[in-house]
């Protein structure tokens, strides 16, 4: 019954002597939803690039529809109906939705003339397959991330996709949007389209797939029906050891000083009448759907979207936070969600990135900053946060996601904030680094820092927080002690209207 669509047989791929894939064989059947899991550096991306024809393996063959390819080119991949949706969705922001969807058919491989009308027809047909309604004449850059994702899927379908490969496609989506996406993948399965889903988020992996493939250090360590595979087994397969993500933090004692008190703060269109307290040494987890006000609240506390009503007090002293300089002056640090664009100078060295926050403190007697001082600061934090790098002078862009995130953390921690706000601290970070980063956050809290963690990742929040605050439509829907809440009742609260 299960008919294979593509088989990768005994694939071996090396880069300058480093083995990225070692004798990996994978088969994807027609209409199957397959999940490819693995840590950063496990060979997932390499495998996908082999499948797309971008990398040519040193050894092994690719078989599509019974035809064995000795060398598989990108053109072969497109001809075989393999479509790839990358993290950035590969859309052209300045072109209309219709053009984006019809681009392959009309522009890339089309004739000389181009017809707007035909583009619209092609787009409508593809969009109707996933039952998604959107203005096809709007530029793709004006869509929300979730809409772009669906447009990217429609574009793949317009090219007669038989296999859609989604590389970390859910990273930017909120929980509800992910659920919609999963429903669409279900639907495509019934239309006979296969999906290869590459994801860090384990819940999704477990819930959607028919089949799960796990890579570790370039070898296949699991390849089996997804049914009956639970989270713990999956983590075990990915990391090769048990990573506990079931920490339950105790409530902070009521005697602890109140580090941050927010009372009745509002900002039009963002949040209204929000009040809460944050104790010294406490980690407050904040979650909510996109648009619930959780992100704007964080930006408000950091002065990027100043509040219009209400008061903020830090250690009992009422403060006014009109811009990030005010916030930093009062000891508030903010680690943004998008570390690549907001948190790091990617081409600069690790040391410079870390030292930028404390550049004034490391000046020498005549007010100059020496290379040595920067390197020392960088080295200090690299050691403290266990950032894996041979040299702090290397650019940040060469680090893995987890280590990049630690550089962002180091940058803020070096300023010794009293209150640290983190938005999605482990987005795009593999599970092992994630659990280490969360451990480090707990250590910093234990040293007296007050921490707010905003996240979509419920297991992560449960693991790290003392208390959890849920936001909905701009106000606080619930605040619970960690010990009084479980994953399932938090999920219920989240989708409740």
């Amino acid at each position: 019954m299960a008919e294979p669509l593509v088989s990768l047989c005994n694939i071996r791929k090396e880069f300058a002597g480093v083995v990225a894939l070692d004798d990996v064989s994978v088969t994807i059947n027609k209409g199957q939803v397959c999940c490819l899991a693995g840590e950063n550096g496990s060979g997932k991306s390499t495998l996908i690039k082999v499948l797309s024809g971008m990398y040519r393996p040193e050894h092994g063959t690719i078989e599509v529809d019974g035809h064995v390819y000795e060398s598989f080119t990108p053109a072969d991949a497109i001809r075989s109906g393999f479509q790839f949706i990358y993290q950035d969705f590969s859309l052209l922001p300045n072109l209309s939705v219709a053009e984006n969807i019809a681009f392959g058919e009309l522009v890339a491989s089309g004739g000389f003339l181009y017809s707007v009308q035909r583009a619209r027809t092609i787009a409508q047909r593809a969009l109707s397959r996933i039952n998604f309604h959107v203005d096809v004449d709007a530029p793709a850059g004006e869509l929300t991330l979730a809409e772009r994702q669906l447009v990217a899927i429609a574009a793949a379908l317009a090219k007669d996709a038989r296999l859609i490969v989604m590389d970390e496609a859910t990273t930017a989506l909120s929980r509800k949007e992910v659920e919609q996406l999963l429903a669409i993948i279900e639907d495509l399965r019934s239309q006979g389209v296969s999906t290869l889903f590459v994801s860090h988020k384990l819940d999704e992996v477990v819930s959607i797939s028919d089949h799960t493939i796990v890579l570790r250090n370039g070898t296949k360590v699991a390849d089996r029906p997804a049914e009956g595979m639970n989270r713990a087994e999956l983590i075990n397969a990915m990391t090769g050891k048990d990573v506990a993500m079931n920490h339950v933090s105790e409530p902070i004692s009521a005697d602890a000083p109140i580090a941050l008190e927010v009372s009745h703060v509002s900002r039009p269109h963002c949040f209204s009448d929000v009040s809460f307290q944050l104790h010294e040494g406490e980690i407050l987890g904040v979650t909510g759907l996109l648009g619930s006000g959780r992100d704007t609240l964080a930006l408000a506390l950091f002065g990027l979207l100043p509040i219009t009503e209400g008061t903020i007090s830090i250690y009992g002293e009422r403060v006014s936070i009109r811009n990030p300089r005010d916030a930093m002056k009062h000891g508030i640090g903010y680690v943004p969600a998008d570390r690549l664009t907001e948190g790091l100078f990617l081409d600069h060295s690790i040391a410079s990135n870390v030292a930028i926050r404390t550049i004034k403190q490391i000046r020498n007697a005549i007010g100059l900053v020496t290379r040595g001082a920067i390197v020392r600061t960088g080295q200090d934090w690299v050691d403290r946060l266990h950032i894996k790098t041979p040299n702090v002078a290397n650019p940040v862009s060469g680090l893995s996601g987890g280590n990049q995130q630690r550089v962002v953390l180091a940058k803020w921690l070096s300023g010794k904030p009293r209150i640290l706000i983190l938005n999605g601290p482990t987005v795009g970070v593999d599970i092992k680094s994630k659990s280490e980063i969360l451990d480090q956050l707990r250590e910093f809290a234990a040293d007296g820092m007050a921490v707010i963690v905003i996240s979509d990742d419920i297991p992560e929040l449960l693991d790290v927080s003392n208390r959890i605050m849920l936001m909905r439509s701009g106000s606080i829907a619930a605040i619970r002690e960690r010990k009084d809440i479980t994953e399932s009742n938090l999920n219920e609260l989240l989708v409740e209207q």
């Binding site: 990108p74 053109a75 497109i78 790839f84 990358y86 590969s90 859309l91 052209l92 922001p93 300045n94 072109l95 053009e99 681009f103 392959g104 009309l106 522009v107 890339a108 491989s109 089309g110 004739g111 000389f112 003339l113 181009y114 017809s115 707007v116 309604h133 959107v134 203005d135 004449d137 709007a138 530029p139 004006e142 929300t144 269109h269 963002c270 648009g291 992100d295 704007t296 930006l299 979207l305």
Partner: protein, 338 residues
């Protein structure tokens, strides 16, 4: 849905609309200050001024939409026209004035292809490549062909310069508009059709939007760049030949220094300097506005020394307005999205 569509159409058209409005205001003011502004002969003068700069702007626009900033188009125009004229004189050519264009076009395409080669194959930013090649083209033309303007152009070219497309008798004498303005109009329509009605044109916008996405969709982007830059070179060469024809001399450095003004006019016309956006209508309106100012300040008694200052102010304002609007849009959007 409808409102999103309307909003998009509105934003897409604003820059053109603003320009039209500004031109209307400027024209009204100039006419009020000096009624001779609105005479046929003056209007023809303005159109003649914008013929060559309009053609160069089209070349500049094509590259800018693809995400590059070309500064070599005056060099390509000058070198192609100068070399073309030299060849015709050496051959003692005596035919139609259009042959100067036909000779210049392949030379322009060749120079464009050199730019396209560096941009496509080595991924060097266009501005860097063309800063280099403009010196190369000027230098090569001076070295091989000499630096003396050619005033004795072939008879056919002289005849073409004197041909009139439209002749109007206005009391004090006749004014006429040459056929080269018609060439600009035809080229503008051609470029517009190319941009919107051909898959090649759409891929130019796509390259300006995100080069990597275009590459992933299986398009050979090196070849596209090569074709695009050759086309832009051909258009520049036509501009150079038109310049030599209209001003009746082939000057090896006649258009040197005009690149920034033209780039600014294209940006004024709504093209995004980072690529992906731009229209022929906007570009021509931008060029027209600059031509009006160049032509008419003297008419209203503003000394010509102030001309550059006024043009500078107009350009700065015209480029700042959309930038500020974009900033405000972005800010509003963030608040809604988050």
């Amino acid at each position: 849905m409808r409102t999103i569509q309307q909003r998009f159409k509105r934003t897409a058209r604003t820059q053109e609309a603003i320009l039209l409005l500004v031109i209307a205001i400027v024209v009204t003011l100039l006419t009020a200050a000096n009624p001779s502004f609105m005479t046929i002969s003056n209007i023809f003068d303005i159109l003649r001024i914008m013929t060559v700069s309009g053609m160069m702007a089209l070349s500049c626009l094509l590259i800018m939409i693809s995400g590059g900033v070309d500064v070599s188009f005056p060099a390509v125009a000058d070198a192609a026209a100068f070399a073309g004229a030299t060849i015709l004189l050496q051959a003692h050519f005596n035919g139609s004035g259009l042959v100067l264009f036909l000779t210049a076009i392949p030379l322009g395409m060749l120079m464009g292809a050199i730019n396209g080669f560096f941009v496509g194959w080595f991924r060097i930013p266009t501005m860097i490549v063309t800063l280099g090649t403009q010196s190369l083209f000027y230098g090569a033309s001076l070295y091989f062909l000499g630096g003396v303007s050619i005033f004795e152009l072939p008879q056919g070219t002289k005849d073409l310069a004197q041909k009139a497309l439209i002749t109007v008798d206005s009391g004090s004498g006749t004014s006429s508009l040459g056929p080269l303005f018609l060439v600009l109009v035809i080229m503008a329509i051609g470029v517009s059709l190319l941009l919107h009605r051909t898959s090649f044109g759409r891929s130019i916008y796509a390259l300006g939007g995100n080069e990597m996405v275009v590459e992933r969709s299986g398009i050979n982007i090196r070849l596209r760049y090569l074709c695009l830059y050759s086309l832009a070179g051909a258009i520049s060469a036509i501009a150079g030949a038109a310049n030599a024809t209209i001003y009746r001399n082939a000057n090896p450095v006649g258009l040197q220094g005009q690149e920034m003004g033209i780039i600014a006019a294209v940006v004024l016309g709504g093209a995004l300097i980072t690529g992906g956006k731009g229209s022929v209508t906007g570009t021509l309106l931008g060029v027209l506005l600059i031509a009006i100012i160049q032509n008419s300040l003297v008419l209203v008694g503003i000394p010509s020394t102030w001309q550059n200052v006024v043009i500078g102010i107009v350009l700065a304002a015209g480029i700042a307005i959309p930038a500020v609007r974009h900033l405000i849009d972005a800010r509003n959007k963030t608040e809604v999205l988050i």
